[in-house]
């Protein structure tokens, strides 16, 4: 389905939201359910126009709870499925994100972060949901979250998010912000054969032998979908490998929850991505992500011009957290600077990984991201 209309190979000038939608379609997404919310609405609008062209489904649900529930349903019916939202909608989705984790439903959730809490600042950027994405639903679990810094990355990382979701059977998040979502930039969409696409593993056993939650060596179970003749059961309750509820069994609970965490933790080296700029001899390391990383890069360059040995560690995966990379960068550094558009979130993880090297948070709330000068000043102060 979709044919050549699915990948708009060529050079474009588009917004981050549109690039994200195009990335999804290029990755094979054929189901989008959402509810309008600034600054993610344009993703839905673009999907509404584009999905029918590629034979896909767009539906505007009655709220974000319904949107994520429909996405999980479509995923279990065999489609690659996505929703996009911002803070208030993201909060509404949390319970069912837990359901997607528990039932190992591959899906992609885009959170275009704006200022919160509550209705907050709908049209201004934020990075205030980066802990919520990790911890927002109840219980112990692991997810994957990527942070794009450019419109090109809105495309690339959305493709990658689908691949990761399908590989690990886990909800995967694109944590954008209002600026990368609304900004227009040049985007290069490669020909389809140059776009890596991963599809979920299918079972190779017969219906009688199929156990929907029996993992392979990589800790990920092959996934049958509805209507394929496997007649399997899935539940948000603690379940055994057959998918049957086992709500009183501590062994089953331990085995299941530990595996759900381990399939990400033990594969973290394969999942984690960072960008390292001038870190080899860096005395001062700036750890940044999303749009802020672009200011950080300018700041680091300016510092170098002025003889300060600064480097940038850009987090591409926020979760699983690139703790090893932070630890390595911290070994030789005197100080770590963590500019974020929040009151101090990822900096906590940085501190944990950096051990004795002090980490200084540079908050920014309620307006545009940090200017390069602001980050440069922090480098100077602590460097």
């Amino acid at each position: 389905m979709g044919g050549d209309k699915a990948v708009l190979t060529g050079v474009h000038f588009m917004s981050g939201d549109i690039a994200c939608a195009e990335g999804a379609i290029a990755a094979g997404c054929r189901f989008f359910a959402g509810y309008p919310i600034t600054p993610a609405t344009e993703i839905a609008e673009h999907m509404a126009a584009r999905m029918p062209e590629v034979g896909g489904i767009y539906i505007q649900m009655e709220d974000e709870i319904a949107s994520i529930a429909a996405v999980i349903g479509a995923s279990y019916a065999g489609l690659k499925a996505m929703t996009a939202t911002s803070g208030p909608g993201f909060s509404l989705m949390q319970e069912n994100i837990g359901l997607a984790v528990m039932t190992e439903a591959p899906c992609v959730i885009v959170d275009v972060m704006r200022g919160g809490p509550s209705t907050g600042q709908p049209t201004l950027p934020g990075q205030q949901d980066v802990m919520q994405v990790k911890w927002g639903s109840h219980g112990d679990y692991e997810i994957i979250a990527l942070a794009p810094s450019s419109v090109q990355e809105m495309f690339d990382f959305t493709v990658e998010a689908f691949n990761l979701a399908e590989t690990y059977r886990v909800p995967t998040f694109v944590m954008a912000d209002e600026i990368v979502a609304h900004m227009w930039e040049r985007v290069v969409i490669p020909p389809p054969e140059n776009i890596r696409i991963v599809n979920r593993k299918k079972p190779s056993v017969s219906r009688d032998d199929y156990m929907p939650f029996m993992p392979d060596d990589d800790l990920v179970p092959p996934m049958a979908c509805f209507g394929e003749g496997y007649r399997f059961h899935a539940t948000g309750l603690t379940h055994d490998e057959r998918g049957y509820p086992r709500t009183q069994d501590s062994e089953v609970q331990t085995r299941l929850v530990q595996r759900l965490c381990d399939k990400i933790r033990k594969n973290a080296d394969k999942i984690v991505r960072v960008e390292e700029v001038m870190l080899d001899d860096a005395d001062v390391v700036v750890v940044a992500y999303g749009i802020v990383a672009r200011s950080a890069l300018s700041a680091v360059r300016r510092a170098r011009e002025q003889g300060v040995k600064a480097g940038l560690l850009r987090l591409i995966t926020l979760w699983p957290f690139p703790g090893k990379h932070v630890a390595k960068a911290a070994e030789k550094a005197k100080a770590i600077i963590v500019p974020e558009m929040n009151c101090g979130q990822i900096v906590r993880e940085v501190e944990r990984a950096a051990k004795t090297t002090p980490a200084y948070h540079v908050p920014k709330l309620g307006e545009n991201p940090h200017t390069p000068m602001e980050i440069f000043a922090a480098i100077r102060r602590h460097g």
């Binding site: 189901f31 029918p52 062209e53 009655e62 319904a66 999980i72 509805f226 007649r231 059961h233």
Partner: protein, 276 residues
């Protein structure tokens, strides 16, 4: 137990999960039985069949039926089923859930699915309370009824599910009690053969929790209440389909045709794809 299980419907059930968790005299088992009976009579393709439920006592139904099945979060069976149906319209998607699940926490999804006329089928076990959590007041609890959270008698006006479904646009609406198993089975067969959003309310005994507090200690006593109070009035005005402790109007109330959401949507997609 699995080995000793020789019932003719055993093939429709997941043997390892039977016996089910429901109390003695609980109507949920009667509903499951009638549902399977209907499946059996229709000889449906069980490889193309999905049962979805929410959370509650009746929510365990998805696990018991030996087809593709999914036990969602509380209240979200309908939007999950919507995703399934749109993604694979050839699947028959049935939601079986409770009054609390479908009409309190999930009420918004119900009215919107009915409005859109998504071709999913919904069966509600209305036991007038939240059985699973120990018998709290719910959206269908009658006035003055006693529950753990209305210890002095309920002062909330209940929903009439037949009115609600009809007003929201459901194309098939019926109400039966678990005593009317024959009509219920016939009605489920109809429901399964229809295209549009279809709904059956099954008034069902919860003797263990609801009955006990309201002077009906056993399933039998609750079934007797249904026998005395129910009046069959097929295709009477749904607006007059009263449901009170004194009178339970049962029957089929709505049976109409209109294009389903997936027909309209897939029709559009086909046109757009062709134009390209």
């Amino acid at each position: 137990m699995a080995g000793a299980f020789e019932h003719p419907f055993a093939v429709y059930l997941r043997a390892a999960m039977i016996p089910h968790i429901w109390c003695s005299g609980c109507g949920n088992g009667v509903i499951l039985n009638a549902f399977i009976h209907a499946l059996d009579e229709l000889r449906m393709d069980l490889d193309k069949f999905v049962v979805v439920s929410g959370i509650g006592c009746i929510g365990r139904t998805a696990g018991y039926t030996n087809v593709d099945s999914f036990h969602t979060t509380h209240g979200r069976a309908i939007p999950f089923a919507t995703g399934v149906k749109l993604a694979k319209p050839e699947l028959e998607v049935v939601v079986i859930s409770g009054d609390g699940d479908l009409f309190a926490i999930g009420g918004n999804h119900f009215i919107h699915a009915a409005r859109r006329n998504i071709g999913i089928k919904v069966i509600c076990a209305n036991n007038f309370n939240y059985g699973m959590t120990g018998g709290q007041v719910g959206p269908t609890t009658p006035l003055e009824a006693l529950t753990t959270t209305t210890p002095y008698g309920n002062v909330e006006h209940p929903f009439n599910l037949v009115h609600l479904a009809t007003a929201s646009g459901a194309t098939y609406v019926a109400r039966w009690t678990t005593l009317h198993v024959r009509m219920l089975t016939m009605s489920i067969k109809k429901l399964l053969q229809r295209k549009g959003f279809s709904f059956i309310e099954v008034v069902s005994p919860c003797p263990e929790i609801y009955g006990r507090r309201n002077n009906m200690r056993t399933g039998l006593e609750m079934m007797e209440w249904f026998r005395k109070a129910s009046v069959i009035a097929n295709f009477s005005d749904p607006a007059k389909a009263e449901i009170t402790p004194e009178k339970i109007v049962v029957g089929e109330f709505v049976d109409i045709e209109k294009p389903t959401y997936e027909q309209l949507l897939y029709g559009k997609i086909a046109k757009i794809v062709k134009k390209e």
